[in-house]
Each structure stands twice: as structure tokens, then as C-alpha cells.
């Protein structure tokens, strides 16, 4: 998937995560901060990168501000931010339910 515009998903509430994506020239640049960085930073980074890969996002600037979200929440917020960034009109009808959006 190609990131066409900047988009955000999620909140800064406790147990949520806010994911912002922006178009980028080449590759994925991930900026992560988390209230549980010490114990889960590595795992959060892995979940975000896996989700981007599953969605076929090859280049993007991604900023993740985590407030202790579970992995399922992180995946959902990343997916949502990416779909919102794929062109506003296309987003709703192009969400691949049952395809790359799963679990």
C-alpha cells in the first residue's frame, strides 16, 4: 500500500496508542515512544513493523506514541492509520476486510 497523505489513528489515553503516518521517499522510518518502553519497547516495535509489512507499506514515516496498549490494539491502530493515509475517498471502500486485515 502506498502512503499518499498524512493520517492519524488512536488516542493518548491510557492503554491506547496513537499512530501517525506520513508519506516518505524510501523505506520505513519508525519513531517510537512508550510508557512501557523498558519492558515492551522491543515487542511494540516488532508488532508495528510486522503490521506495516503485512499491509505492504514499503515507505512511510511512522510515529507511535504508546500508552501501554496491547498488541491487538497496536495492530488495529496501525492498520487504521495506514488506510486513512491511502487517499481519503478510497479508504472506506478499499479496506481489505478478511484479507490483510485479520486477527
Amino acid at each position: 500500500m502506498e502512503i499518499l497523505n498524512a493520517a492519524v489513528a488512536g488516542t493518548l489515553e491510557s492503554s491506547d496508542v496513537q499512530v501517525s503516518v506520513e508519506p516518505a521517499e524510501k523505506g520505513v522510518a519508525l519513531d517510537l515512544s512508550s510508557s512501557v518502553m523498558e519492558q515492551y519497547g522491543r515487542q511494540i516495535r516488532a508488532v508495528v513493523l510486522e503490521t506495516l509489512e503485512r499491509l505492504g507499506v514499503a515507505s512511510a514515516r511512522v510515529r507511535v506514541v504508546d500508552k501501554g496498549a496491547l498488541d491487538c490494539t497496536i495492530r488495529a491502530r496501525v492498520e487504521c492509520a495506514v488506510f486513512r493515509a491511502c487517499g481519503a475517498d478510497a479508504a472506506a471502500k478499499n479496506i481489505p476486510w478478511g484479507g490483510v486485515v485479520r486477527e
Binding site: 512501557v36 519492558q39 519497547g41 501501554g68
Partner: protein, 517 residues
Amino acid sequence: MKNSIGREIPDELLAGGREIFRGNNHRDGYGYTKAGPKVRAAVKPQESKVVPTLRAAIEACGLRSGMTVSFHHHFRDGDYVVNMVMREIEAMGIRDITIAASSVGSAHDPVAAMIESGVVTGLQTSGIRGRMGEVVSHGKLATPAVIRSHGGRVRAIEMGEVHIDVAFIGAPSCDEFGNARGKGGKSDCGVLSYAMVDAKYADRVVVITDTLVPFPNFPPSIESVDVDCVVVVDEIGNAKKIASQAIRISQDPRELKMASDCARVMAALPYFKDGFSFQTGAGGPSLAVNRFIEPVMRERGIKMKWALGGITKPTVELLERGLIECIVDTQDFDTDAVASVHENRNHYEISTSQYANPMNKGAFVNKLDFAILAALEIDTDFNVNVVTGSDGVLRGAPGGHPDASAGAKCTIIVTPLVRGRIPTVCDRVVTVTTPGESVDVLVTDYGIAVNPSRPDIARALDEARIAHTTIEALRDRAYGMVGVPDEIAFGDHVVAIVEARDGTILDVVWQVEAHDA
């Protein structure tokens, strides 16, 4: 060297005669001579000990660089006394001070800068939070902080391991001769239990009050015979924060379920009979247990003989309804508890030595039936952490937790299985503040586990048809939800020593690297 709960204690900490923890009762029967203060006799009759300013008091006491000063924490987050005294000490150019407080909190953030500048080079406390917790965790304090339980602090002072040069005791009311009380002023805190040992063992004792009352201010918590001088200031603290409005009983269904389950566990045990005794923490679920035991007590027609420790409204209500015969009090958390200790003749103030000192001739905690307490973390050995956060930074207080749990016949930890993403039940707590041998039952929102060292309790729960599982199963459930946490990466510098109640080393706290804020 590893201690008996498998914690590695660096050898250099053992050089000065300190010993590793060898179990709760290892020092039972130990003989020692108590320390005593240097007294400057006031033979010549004097009308008043009131001095004009705080500085005059500090000068009169001969406070100089390198000395140890002490404080109590009855004013909690409303305290003005610590900052007031430390600012004056700093302004006088005195440095290299050790603070020996019963606890410090976020009200004392200004002291953090004094740690960084070398005005404060030693810290002995129960609690440590806010900015002070951060600077100590980042290795800014010149010597390792010493974290003790409330009982452990009294022990250390009475055994002479901590010698207080000058005690600064904030008091809601005081007369011109130094008789001080927790009531009768603008900012009543109820009792002065934590400060009693300071008054008896410090070389010099300064009472700081905002309400000077006629002599004699009786009956006193701090006696004039122990007081060198009295300072009158505008305000000793913020009254609203010293004694807060009653903490409302939780409406959170998760907390209520845990409290209800805890009460069911209590009711299933043989200790739950007429005349039992009980101590509960001031946290949400522990507090709510008061509400859930009431109907069971009425149904069985039993009463509690005594309730101990930090007191809140729910306990006061049980006293007023005749379900508790007396309250034995070392701290008051709300206005109801403050009012009760002054007005109810069955509500008594005791010293912290009477409450919890493990090395006097027997403290109240030793006769407790139940202790209901919380935890930041509990591991599969039932070791509890209440002092370091999941990032390894100091932000809590053992308080009376290690004391009550060591003494009680049945200690129940009530805590949610996970908080946000942080698992409360884990393989290995960051820091041990209460050893697993003190803990008998764990009640979480996802199930109950009994310490394998208490098959009698497990049998009693089986007979009462109360389901329980293993603590390993609860840990797996937690990890299943949030993932297995990575170990925190610590530096190789010890920033704090966690003393067991008896003065041996239970654990150490390692330096954490400063994170991008």
C-alpha cells in the same frame, strides 16, 4: 553474594558489617544495647523554649555539614516542613546532610535539586517518589539511599545504626515548652506516631508548629522533656492534603470483585472468628474489603477486637457501628480518622515501635490475624514489590507492608492481574520489598492463588468451595494477555539498599539510565 531469596547483594555493601537477608526470623532472640541520645540538660528554670526563627533553632542545635536530620510524614503530600527546613539549611551554607525521614513524597520535589548540588548526600526513608525518586534512580545521590519499612526504621534508630543529630518535628499544636500533639491546630493530622522515636533518640529536637497553645498541651504525643526548642511558623502544611476528604469506596466493579473475593477468603479461614484482628492498606480494593466483611460479621454474630495501622473512614465506621472494639492507630489518612482518634475513646494512638519494630520485645503486628495489602508486582515466589515502577525507577513505599505481612497469621495481597500492559503477577519482581514467606494468599481479578507453604489455607478454601489456582497459572494468564516482559536494563551502580525489617539486606536497586523524557 546471594541472600536467602536469591537476590544478588554486591560484596562491597557487606564490608561494613551489613548482612544478607536470611529469612524473617533469623535474628529472633538477638541481644543488643539500645542507643541513646546526647542530652543537653535544661537545669535552669526557663519560661519558654520558643525561638524567634527556624534559623535560630538550627543554630541553637549546632547543626553543621555532615550531620543527619530527621522528619516524619504525617503531613503526607501537604507537608511544608521538610522543604522549609532544608531551604534554610541550604541558605546557611550547610552541606553533606543525610535526611532520615519516615517517608518523603512528591511534596518534596525541591529537595531533588539539593541532592544534585550536594546539600543532601544521604537519604534514609520508607517512601520515595516524584523528582527525588528520579534523581536517586539516576545515581545523583552521593551514597546509596536506604529504604526501610516503618518498623525497620524504628529498629535502626533504636539500635544506633541511624543516629539523628537534629530531629525536626512538625506538629499541629505545641505549647511553649514543647508538648506537641496531632490535634488542636489548623492542620490536624491526628497522631504523631512516626515522630515518637525521633523525639526519644535524636540529640536535639525541634518542634515546628503553626498553632502555639497554652501550657500544658496534654496529653502530648511528643513530650517537652525531649524537646530542645520550639519554632512557630505561618503554616506547617496544606490542611486539605494533610487530612483528605474520605477516599470514596471504589465503584470499579473489578476492584469490588477482588474485595468481595478477599472477604470470602477471610471468612473461610479459622482466624475469622469473634475477637479477630485486622490491618488493611489504604488502596482501593483493600479499603473496600472493610465493606464486604461487615455483612459476614453480622451474619455470624462476630466482632473484631482491634484494627491496626493507617486508618481510614471505613474502619472508623466499623468502630462506630460496634463491629470493632478498638482501633490502634499509627497514621490517619482522612478527616474522619483524624476526628475519631480525638473523640472516640476506643481509638488509640501508638508509637511506630509499638506498631511494627521487629526487634523490640514484641510489636502489635505480631498479633495480627489478617493483613490485607496491595502490590505493584508479585512474583511466583510470592515476593512483593511496592517501591520500584516497571521502568525500574523508585516511586513507592514499603511503609508498613513488610511489617504487617511478616506479623499477620494470614497476609492477603489484593491486586489486579495486569495494570495497563504491565503484568502484576510476574516471574521476578524488579525489587523485593516484602519476602514471599510473609505472603499467604494472592487475590486477583482473574483468580486466587495460595502460597504452597500454606496447605492449611488451601484446604480451608477447598472446604469452603472457593476456587483457587497456582500463582504460575495466574502469571501465564497475565503474560498471555500482555506478552512476556523484557528484563529492564540497569546500570551497574547501586542507588538504593532495601533493608529487611531486621536490618539485613533484602535487595538492592540499580541505577537506571535517564530516558528521553
